[in-house]
Symmetry: C2
Subunit: 507 residues, 2 copies
């Protein structure tokens, strides 16, 4: 496909228009389903044009807000632009934009944090209200109207099916060779008509290479030529390398014990430096013929594919640095044999995660003595990003691993605390905790046994005495000794942190 | 099968022995997988004999404890007897025995609370250590060695497969006509060899009517003749009837809105008076051709089957009153066409719960302003029973409903609190909260919107002013306003309750 030919259906030629003209078709209070997942495949032009229109309307004294539903996080051109003009009534699901975050935490914008696997079905069920408009970036529109997906799939299938009206952004900066790298499953149904999802290996193709779209619903086609917002990862720092080391040692131990096959099981890995350090460790490690069944394809996974260690990766989006993106584009025909991008209702589906036996690795903000994990809220009240797919994976994984450096804010904050003031993953869903200090294997341990292992293996030595002191006093004074706590001081550490003091001092 | 003929394989005749002799084959520190789920199908004789032996060993100054793994709760003859002699090193999963509970909360017995769907696979994965002995009640042993399951299936398939040694209790008090009412699925595998589970309707038979057992592993067969510990439910009290009324009204509303089919979707219902009130309401309600995909079959479900409203019920155990049990036994041939009992790895399987689109109704201890639910811990530290299957269902259900009276302890305790000191179900897994006051539909609401609906719909009017006050001050003073909280007083209500005072007084 050349630049000129990416909108092939003659019927759509008359609907080509500017982003401003397309944005003018969006009404106040519309619910808009936008493409985009971790800075990949989000619409580049219409959200900005919509933000400008909103600003003008606001300046004229009238209200103009919309509901924004996406795959996951997007980029400043979408979340940032719309939040900056106070144009978002309700945002869902996962987001990571600093402007968005600031407005949400200031109480100026409503945000619903939803398991990523729940989003599409909630829309199908009618639980979130009616979807008015879909704004979806594609890499091209084929002659017969099928859409070539872009660098993320997210909830695009659902947006295109459920929305009354569709606005397509055809981005000629996206590689036309993406055609063939996607697997769009059209077998989902509403209960009671659902059938088993016929996927038993990460590489199984169960769907179509393109997105279906009722062209009669397409009210605008906007041509763009803009790259994704790729993230540049720093080289792994010491803590990340140590955490990765503990995980790799643990995986080898599990293989020796016969609890994991030599090629492991399909890997899920969150984004960020720790995740990339684990992947870098795998590149140098003893495991061959690895697979991934995950949300996002990071630099480290491309490296693993290139070095032959990773046989296949299933994901819903790319999340690459500029350098990795250049490599990806240069070698797309090769990568296409090793990568499938799927809707997030498939990449994150509990049925598939449990069937495949995924080894799940996710970051966290803090864990408590008993292994309850807070992934989302700073000091219990400020949302950081969202739960994303961590719940889909942790609950259904073969092994559920959560990881963090043991301290934050230059050692003022301990990431192991007496009690977390927000819980995203309960003790029931957390099997392994890892910090640079070590790895706590919580399988088969009661809460009290967990506490001792978590303190001694994961907490920073500077905080261990105070944690031991809390735990010992709780064990002595707690009305119940199944999960001992002192409710009057369970959050004393967080209150110290809120005052800018070192957690646990004076204990 | 007559009493005399229930142990048909000649090879097993020589292994018939007393419960005392069988218990003598159990060694200290053994991990024992016992049958039993909600007072149905647990071994009646060997646990008591084991407890007596332990008592003698303890009296002689020697230690003797074992690990007890079950399906879920059992009865005083098992959990109570072994806990009373301090014979349990580690108990898992769900339990509800008063002696067990007392010892766990006194810190004298270790307890691991596990999602019921996780137990079997954790044993298969080797995560809980080695299973030494299975002690399983059956209704009979067929000529070819196949076992006729009893009134619960639970984890029996896994215990029989995984244990080195098997002790069978053949209970002639169990109805021999149970043969044919079970569906034991033998298609589970370890990852990466798992396949889709071919069940698409609650009534689908996917397995065998009997349990397989390697007779070479059978070290003892003990004949018993003792009934299950059936529970007698009180007639629904006013609060239960009101809660049921709100739920039925809501289900009708969802049908009118087109969000549920006229015959609803498969129902899951916890045990207890509220659950039975809901089922009683359904017997008088407008819905026909209902189905159930649930853990336990209660009195109310039998009533629904008898009156023709419930077409099929899938469960893993019976949980009947004496009167209902008599009816069940008298009409077993009829009920067998409407009921299947399955392993709990199937009754609680995330893949199936999500596929079927279950309407899940579970009790809770308390919920917080934002919809986080505590199902297990009184005042955050004392275990009540356990999470059971509520997490399996709530996370994967089409609709996840939690219910409780709005107050406890004669109005001293509010079951809607500022913050729960223990979280079993996060806001992400809780869509509907119901008390006798009303129903809060949390779908599509942000945390702040949830708080207002929960206070005004679910909290008792006596506690609403104090809850509003906390919420308003939190909204004003909270560092983050996504999930507003005042950490310094988040548990003030629980501390009041621990002092015997009324929650929220003085606010």
């Amino acid at each position: 496909m050349s630049h000129e030919s990416r909108v092939l259906p003659p019927a759509l030629r008359g609907r080509l228009m500017s982003a401003d003209a397309a944005a003018a078709l969006i009404r106040p209070d519309d619910h808009i389903g936008m493409s985009g997942f971790t800075g990949a495949g989000y619409p580049k032009a219409v959200p900005k044009a919509l933000a400008q229109r909103m600003q003008a309307v606001h300046a004229a004294g009238a209200p103009f807000k919309v509901g924004i539903w996406t795959g996951a996080s997007t980029a400043p051109e979408l979340d940032g632009a719309l939040a900056a003009v106070d144009g978002v009534e309700m945002r869902l699901p996962y987001q990571s934009d600093p402007v968005c975050r600031q407005r949400i935490n200031a109480g100026q914008m409503e945000y619903i944090d939803i398991h990523l696997s729940h989003v599409a079905q909630f829309v199908w069920f009618g639980f979130l209200g009616h979807l008015d408009v879909a704004v979806v970036e594609v890499a091209g529109i084929l002659e017969d109207g099928r859409l070539v997906p872009s660098t993320s799939v997210g909830n695009n299938k659902t947006w295109l099916e459920q929305a009354d009206k569709v606005i397509l952004e055809v981005n000629t900066a996206q590689n036309p060779q993406l055609l063939g790298m996607h697997d769009i499953y059209y077998g989902t149904q509403l209960p009671p008509h659902r059938q088993p999802i016929p996927l038993v290996r990460p590489g199984d193709r169960i769907g179509e290479t393109t997105l279906r779209c009722d062209l009669d619903k397409v009210i605008a086609v906007v041509e763009t030529h803009a790259p994704d917002r790729n993230i540049n990862f720093a080289a792994p720092d010491d803590n990340s390398v140590r955490i990765a080391g503990h995980i790799l040692e643990f995986l080898s131990h599990e293989v020796r014990k016969g609890r994991l096959p030599a090629e492991l099981l399909p890997l899920q890995s969150g984004v960020g430096n720790i995740a990339n350090a684990v992947l870098a460790g795998l590149a140098d490690g003893p495991f061959e013929q690895l697979t991934a069944f995950t949300e996002v394809l990071q630099d480290g996974m491309l490296d693993l594919i290139r070095c032959g260690k990773l046989g296949f990766a299933s994901a819903t989006a790319l999340s690459l640095s500029n350098a990795a993106m250049a490599d990806f584009n240069a070698n797309l025909a090769d990568y296409r044999r090793r990568i499938l991008l799927r809707p997030q209702e498939i990449s994150n589906h509990p049925e598939l995660i449990r069937r495949l036996g995924v080894v799940s690795m996710n970051g966290m903000i803090e864990a408590d003595l008993y292994g309850n994990v807070n992934s989302t809220h700073l000091m219990g009240t400020q949302i950081m990003n969202g739960i994303g797919g961590s719940g889909d994976f942790a609950r259904n994984a073969y092994l559920s691993i959560f990881m963090t450096p043991s301290t934050a804010k230059n050692g003022l904050i301990s990431c192991i605390v007496p009690m977390t003031p927000h819980v995203d993953h309960t003790e029931h869903d957390v099997q392994i905790l890892v910090t640079e200090q070590g790895l706590a294997d919580l399988r088969g341990l009661s809460p009290k046994q967990r506490a001792q292992v978590i303190i001694e293996r994961c907490a920073h030595p500077d905080f261990r005495p105070a944690l031991r002191d809390y735990y010992r006093r709780a064990l002595d004074q707690s009305p119940g000794k199944h999960t001992p706590h002192l409710l009057q001081e369970a959050f004393a550490w967080h209150l110290q942190a809120l005052r800018g003091e070192r957690m646990g001092h004076g204990a």
